[in-house]
């Protein structure tokens, strides 16, 4: 089978919709992961030993189970116990929660490296606990975590392709659909692959520009 440009052009609108959904899902998951991770980290730092252990167990669980299993659980098993969510919601929640677990480790590391003198200074100034966190600790922790967090956004973008498994029309799902409909798989999968790689470029440029060396892992 040789490359067919007219066919390739005819499936582009469908694939571009997939690109749109991919970006949308990535943004939604990132918001959930970045905010959720911060909350988990704060909970871990402030709740003492018991809370620390409890969050630890939850984090290890979400880091040790394949995303596909969690997606299937959310999509097929949750309705059985009365929670019926659309595919989009399951996908965003699963990816968001899993990467919140990853991000919380980053935030926690950053929080631990904040010198205790800053807390003392905040207390000396009479800041309330809330103000100390909101005005002092969180901004510093976020700034310290930023390079690693950008990495996780990049990973999330790549992992968003997994959502095709539960019917979310991300780019991979759209390519698969186009292939099914015409029995031509070469063009859709190749174009999808090229698009996925190209959409990385902004992230890589961002990382280069800020001289970020720690490059995102697999998961």
């Amino acid at each position: 089978m040789t490359w067919d440009w007219t066919y390739a052009a005819s499936i582009m609108p469908d694939l571009m919709f997939g690109v749109f959904v991919t970006v949308l899902v990535t943004v939604a998951c990132s918001v959930l992961a970045l905010l959720g991770g911060l909350l988990i980290a704060i909970a871990q730092v402030t709740t003492g030993r018991a809370g620390h252990r409890a969050t630890r167990v939850i984090i290890e669980f979400f880091r040790g189970v394949p995303i596909l299993v969690l997606l299937y659980f959310g999509y097929y098993a949750l309705p059985e116990i009365g929670v019926l969510l659309p595919g989009y919601a399951v996908g965003v929640i699963v990816l968001g929660v899993v990467y919140a677990a990853y991000c919380s480790e980053v935030y926690r590391g950053a929080l631990m490296t904040i010198p205790s003198g800053l807390r003392d200074a905040a207390a000396a100034l009479g800041l309330s606990t809330f103000a100390t966190w909101y005005l002092v600790l969180i901004p510093i922790a976020v700034r310290k975590s930023l390079p690693a967090l950008v990495n996780y956004v990049l990973v999330l973008y790549k992992q968003s392709s997994f959502l095709f498994a539960i019917g979310v029309p991300v780019l991979l799902a759209q390519a698969q659909l186009a292939g099914y409909q015409s029995f031509r798989y070469l063009e859709p999968y190749t174009i999808a692959g090229v698009l996925y790689v190209l959409m990385n470029v902004p992230f890589v440029l961002y990382q280069r520009r800020f001289g970020i060396k720690t490059r995102g892992g697999l998961s």
């Binding site: 089978m1 669980f61 596909l68 059985e80 997994f162 698969q176 892992g217 697999l218």
Partner: protein, 235 residues
């Protein structure tokens, strides 16, 4: 009630373990080859390896799996590979691109003076690398590789998409037959969690056998014993 599916589930588990083991080993090989190619001074090789690494890291492993399984055989002259071969190949290659960066970082982290001292002592380039640089680099490489391997164990779940009857594929079949969705997926989640823990444990054992770690431990042991002896001798 789910007990009757246990043999099937175990078979799936065996497939998952086999794929994970072979692709972790394959990934180690790819990492070393790509990493060393990336570090050579000969520009065409290092640039080529760098571009390949960037390409493989550019999209999720899922994309490459689908492409190699569904699209590659359509290119004239390309072979149609079996699902198992495609799975191990793709997982090894894509994870190897991440592993290559671990290798590069680990080798770069060994102080330059070590290699210079070795060459001053008259060791050949090969001897320097194998007996001086590599043992020290491994102390950095292995822990990072451990977390990559754990990720790979989780990633084997995607091979169900190309028709390999791994743990997740079997679980999906059981779900369809038994209707006990919650139990099946909860069980499978726990099995994967267990596999990750085992992988992490095995790598910790491996870390302990690394030359530099062994030397450090021996140093600590002698320090402790000599400390003891001075305590004993002094009174």
């Amino acid at each position: 009630m789910l007990i009757e599916f246990l043999p099937a589930l175990l078979q799936g588990l065996a497939t998952t373990v086999a794929i994970a083991t072979s692709s972790i080993l394959g990934c180690a090989g790819v990492s070393i080859v790509l990493g060393m190619a990336r570090r050579t001074k000969f520009a065409p090789v290092s640039v080529g390896a760098g571009s390949l690494i960037e390409l493989l890291r550019g999209a999720s492993v899922l994309i490459y799996l689908f492409w190699v399984y569904y699209a590659l055989p359509l290119v004239p002259g390309m072979p149609r590979l079996s699902p198992l071969v495609v799975s191990v190949l793709v997982l090894s290659l894509v994870a190897g691109a991440y592993g290559a960066e671990i290798v590069v970082a680990g080798v770069d982290a060994v102080p330059k003076g070590q290699a210079e001292a070795a060459s001053t002592l008259g060791l050949s380039k090969y001897q320097t690398f194998v007996t001086v640089v590599l043992p020290q680099a491994l102390t950095q490489i292995v822990p990072a590789f451990a977390s990559l391997a754990i990720d790979m164990v989780k990633w084997t779940a995607i091979v169900s998409f190309v028709g390999v009857q791994d743990l997740l594929a079997i679980a999906n079949n059981i779900r369809v037959i038994s209707y006990s969705t919650v139990g099946v997926y909860a069980g499978v989640a726990l099995i994967y969690l267990g596999l990750c823990l085992v992988t992490s444990y095995l790598f910790r054992l491996l870390e302990r056998t690394l030359p530099l770690n062994r030397a450090l431990e021996a140093g600590r042991a002698t320090a402790a014993s000599s400390g003891m002896s001075t305590l004993v001798v002094q009174p």
